[in-house]
């Protein structure tokens, strides 16, 4: 395989909060993410998954080791590594259209674009996520699923090379969640050839979600956060509801659960 898209090399991250002893969030973490791959990261609460995502996003800098994209070290946030936040981070004073266009209008991703080209791309992204007709609604008028799709459209509009997603479906009810998992795969391009897909790093608590969506699943342990295992998900694509019923799917879920079960129990007790 060619050089990895993203490489995390022996990274450690320490937080020194004033008045408390420093916390080691992540330790000795090494992981490569390949181009066009859908990588999921699972682990018990507090295992540092979000920290790893923030390091890839450039919102945090590592205390040790390095994080790189295409061999270039990551020094800060940029639209090439788009982020979808757990609470969607929609701007409440902008409509759906305003939110989706935001990065193009005010950031470097839209530099040099004519108004027409920008409006065209915005419209395409809104159609892509299935929100045509809701362009002029404000976030408070949208359901949870619609907000999530707006955030996704905003992300796609900047045509990032990498999509970093921090538990984007966590705030949704179980049924909406299942539907949007399918939508996510469609938008990502699971029905298109692999070379046309974008690189995705996806954080989740839900193991079944990770197995359903991803090509590989990274399993983390907590205190400190470390990479415990890297599981290949060889389920064929395109995946759908039927995939969830297959024995291969169930087996993978069980394997991963076995890896984190003890820690998850401990996390509740302490």
């Amino acid at each position: 395989m060619s050089a990895p898209k993203l490489s995390i090399d022996r990274v450690g991250k320490r937080f020194d909060a004033a008045g408390h002893a420093s916390t080691v969030a992540v330790q000795d973490f090494t992981l490569d993410v390949h181009r066009g791959e859908f990588l999921a990261i699972v682990g018990p609460s507090g295992c540092g998954k979000t920290t790893v995502l923030n390091l890839l996003a450039g919102l945090e800098l590592p205390s040790e080791g390095s994080v790189a994209i295409d061999g270039r070290q990551i020094a800060g946030p940029a639209p090439e590594r788009g982020v979808m936040f757990q609470d969607y981070a929609l701007f409440p004073w902008q409509t759906v259209e305003g939110n989706v266009a935001f990065g193009l209008r005010y950031g470097p991703a839209g530099a040099g674009m004519s108004d027409a080209a920008r409006a065209d791309r915005v419209r395409k992204c809104i159609d892509l996520v299935g929100l045509a007709g809701s362009e002029h609604k404000y976030p408070h008028q949208l359901s949870g699923g619609m907000r999530q799709r707006t955030a996704l459209a905003r992300l796609m509009a900047m045509e990032p090379q990498v999509l970093l997603m921090d538990e984007p479906l966590a705030a949704l009810d179980a049924q909406t969640r299942i539907i949007l998992q399918g939508e996510l795969l469609r938008i990502w391009g699971q029905e298109r050839p692999a070379s046309e897909r974008r690189t995705v790093v996806f954080i989740t608590h839900a193991i079944d979600e990770a197995v359903f969506l991803a090509d590989r699943v990274a399993v983390m342990t907590s205190h400190p956060g470390r990479l415990k295992a890297l599981i290949d998900v060889t389920l064929p694509r395109p995946r759908d509801d039927a995939t969830r019923a297959t024995p291969a799917f169930q087996a993978l879920v069980q394997t991963i659960w076995a890896l984190i079960r003890d820690e998850a129990y401990r996390a509740i007790v302490t």
């Binding site: 919102l59 946030p77 701007f91 004073w93 005010y106 950031g107």
Partner: protein
């Protein structure tokens, strides 16, 4: 919808009862000078017809708008600067917090000393009074921009100036609006107080406005019914100004959920 007229009747019950009691008490047992609802109504008619009340109100409201505009023009930029820069906040907050407990009316003697008893002093007092709620709420709004929105802007590659313009200010707008609303209320109270105080001390002349009118009717012509009319007018204008600003804010912020 049928409940509406019933609710209105029930709400009007107590005020009407109180007014009736007031009228009865004065007619039966009250001192001859006491204000009476019937004479108050007549006085209201007189004052409006003779244009005295509208002119006085106009003068007071004009001063309020002037002082409010000055306060907002100073307080909003300052509040944004303080809310986005820890250094600026540390430097200026001691001054703001030291002067905040000093009510505008306490500054009035100084204002009169420096600016005389006319409109300049009145506008200065109003501006001083309105300044603090506006700046404090602006700072709070700028400081409480959700971190997640700032992060989202960072990941979209926005720089500091663009983030201030497109994220911090819109996000802080509701708080700024609250500050403006409170500031308007405080401004109106301050102008009435200032005009009253100047009217009392400057011998009834020179300050103008509804506050001074009230004092004149106390000290000179002892027209208590007219004083009550002025009081009601003060209340009505306070209500109207609040509605006005609320409407303006709702217009400026169509995204706020009702």
């Amino acid at each position: 919808m049928n409940a509406r007229p019933f609710d209105f009747a029930r709400g009007a019950l107590l005020p009407i009862a109180l007014v009736t009691l007031w009228q009865a008490w004065v007619m039966l047992a009250g001192p001859s000078r006491a204000p009476v609802p019937t004479r108050v109504a007549l006085a209201a008619w007189d004052l409006v017809a003779s244009n005295e009340l509208p002119m006085a109100l106009l003068q007071s409201v004009g001063r309020v708008f002037g002082g409010f505009a000055v306060a907002a023009a100073l307080a909003v930029p300052l509040g944004l600067a303080m809310g986005t820069s820890a250094r600026v906040e540390r430097a200026l907050d001691p001054l703001v917090e030291s002067f905040r407990p000093i009510a505008a009316i306490a500054i009035l003697p100084l204002a009169i000393l420096w600016l005389g008893t006319g409109t300049a002093a009145a506008v200065a007092i109003v501006a001083y009074a309105a300044f603090f709620p506006i700046v404090i709420n602006t700072v709070a709004g700028a400081q409480r921009v959700p971190a997640t929105l700032l992060r989202a802007a960072a990941t979209m590659g926005l720089g500091r100036a663009a983030t201030l313009r497109t994220v911090v200010i819109p996000s802080a707008l509701p708080s700024i609006g609250t500050g403006l609303r409170i500031g308007m209320g405080v401004a109106w109270t301050a102008i009435v107080a200032a005009e009253l105080a100047v009217g009392a001390k400057a011998g009834g002349g020179g300050s103008g406005g509804v506050g001074q009118m009230m004092f004149v009717y106390y000290a000179y012509s002892i027209e208590l019914n007219r004083i009550v009319v002025c009081m009601i007018a003060v209340g009505l204008v306070a209500f109207a100004l609040d509605r006005l600003i609320r409407g303006a804010l709702a217009f400026a912020m169509p995204w706020t959920a009702r």
